[in-house]
């Protein structure tokens, strides 16, 4: 009973992305080896996703009820549906993934503190961002928000385009890290490597993350020698990525 309460609290911390790298590793090992724990985890995850589904559905139902009372929209030339149709069902379900996505989201959202200050300081107004259809003008701060929004939604192409529009002096190491990841996600390895290298050049708080992803990018590119060097450095430094780096090295041999 005591244990179960503790495990549930642990699972919630995991789902909220609040575990440290070490705790995370421990958690994942346990998921693989402890059948009862895995069962508890699956159950919690399903119920939480179901609660979110119910919550979202409640709001959507209210919107739909309002929609039905509004005057019908009659556009001059209604076009045929060509794009993959987006039915309501699809995005009601999309919420399930949001649990898994949360890890990424929290990582992104915890960061901006420092950069928010930077943005306020370097406020450069009016840069056009949104396509010709919305005539709004967008500031740098918004640009960054939109970039992270896209990143959160796994829309990496959009995130890249927004990050790249940031002026040079706004690109600090966390931007390089996310930009690199976005490039890696869409398969542009060369650009990813450039950005991760910049993270390392900054010699800031993201050294280990930068090196880890750099190593992976090299790996993807087939530059195994460079990848090996980077992984070895991670192991040597005893960083939080050391264990995983050692694993990759083992698999590379």
């Amino acid at each position: 009973m005591e244990n179960e309460i503790r495990d549930i609290a642990l699972i919630e911390q995991y789902l909220e992305g609040k575990l440290t790298t070490e705790e995370l590793e421990e958690f994942e090992v346990r998921l693989q080896n402890d059948e009862l724990f895995k069962k508890l985890f699956d159950q919690e995850e399903t119920l939480i996703a179901g609660i979110r589904y119910t919550g979202r559905k409640g709001i959507l139902d209210k919107l739909e009820a309002m929609e039905e009372k509004l005057p019908k929209i009659d556009l001059e030339k209604p076009s045929e549906g060509k794009v993959v149709p987006m039915r309501r069902r699809t995005y009601l379900i999309a919420i399930a993934a949001s649990i898994a996505l949360l890890l990424v989201t929290v990582f992104v959202l915890n960061k901006p503190t420092n950069s928010e200050v930077l943005f306020a300081k370097h406020f450069t107004p009016y840069q056009n961002l949104i396509t010709s259809n919305t005539r709004g003008e967008v500031t740098i701060k918004e640009l960054k928000e939109l970039a992270f929004l896209a990143y959160d939604q796994e829309n990496y192409t959009e995130a890249i385009s927004n990050f790249e529009k940031l002026p040079q002096e706004q690109k600090n190491e966390d931007i390089f890290l996310y930009l690199g990841n976005a490039y890696l996600a869409v398969g542009k390895t060369e650009e990813a490597i450039q950005n991760f290298s910049k993270v390392l050049e900054e010699k800031g708080d993201f050294q280990n993350q930068g090196r880890w992803f750099l190593a992976l990018a090299y790996l993807k590119q087939g530059e195994t020698q460079k990848a090996t060097l980077a992984f070895e450095k991670l192991v040597e430094d005893g960083s939080s990525y050391g264990k995983r780096a050692a694993e990759v090295l083992k698999e590379m041999r």
């Binding site: 919107l63 993959v84 918004e142 939109l146 829309n155």
Partner: protein
């Protein structure tokens, strides 16, 4: 009302304010989507409702505190992202932040999975209705609206945050029981 006070009142639970926002940009958004992404009005409506719901979720969870762009461009940005996502289906591989590769299932597979998932969620929804308030409300406040325990304590009038926390644990346990029973009946 300024856009930031709109955010504040939505955050404090004023759903009528969300309805006003919905009506304000409805026409423009829907005709924009229909025109630019060649879809039907009904499909565009779906996208609009999704954009509004994401906007709402970001406000109540405290992710969106202050409007730095306009509400309008925020909604349009979400809409644009969602439409691009739809087109992105051809892209089968994505990377997680930790560098592991994520394989997105073939369309057919994922359709089947989505149907299965929805069935499960609908069952959770039924169980929540069986559970009733205050448990249903409490769980939604915590997991969907992502309110903190002190906030929930205030909204539902508990003695203190510990009581609320304890209550949440009990509610979750009851939900689990109902859900287990239902699963057994179905199988």
């Amino acid at each position: 009302m300024s856009e930031n006070s709109v955010i504040e009142s939505i955050k404090s639970g004023d759903e009528a304010e969300l309805g006003k926002i919905y009506q304000k940009y409805r026409m423009e958004f829907i005709s924009w989507v229909v025109k630019n992404y060649s879809c039907t009005i009904d499909e565009a409506k779906d996208v609009y409702q999704l954009a509004i719901v994401i906007f709402y979720e970001n406000i109540i969870s405290g992710r969106l505190v202050e409007m730095t762009s306009s509400i309008k461009s925020y909604l349009f940005a979400i809409g644009k992202n969602k439409m691009l996502e739809q087109k992105k289906l051809a892209n089968k591989y994505t990377y997680n932040l930790d560098g592991t590769m994520n394989m997105i299932h073939e369309e057919e597979d994922s359709k089947e999975m989505a149907e299965k998932e929805e069935k499960t969620f609908k069952m959770v929804e039924n169980c929540l209705n069986l559970l009733g308030d205050p448990c249903k409300k409490l769980l939604e406040l915590y997991y969907y609206q992502r309110k903190s325990m002190p906030e929930i304590t205030e909204i539902l009038g508990y003695k203190n945050a510990d009581t609320a926390k304890n209550q949440k644990y009990k509610c979750m346990k009851r939900l689990k029981k109902i859900f287990e029973k239902k699963t057994l009946n179905v199988v």
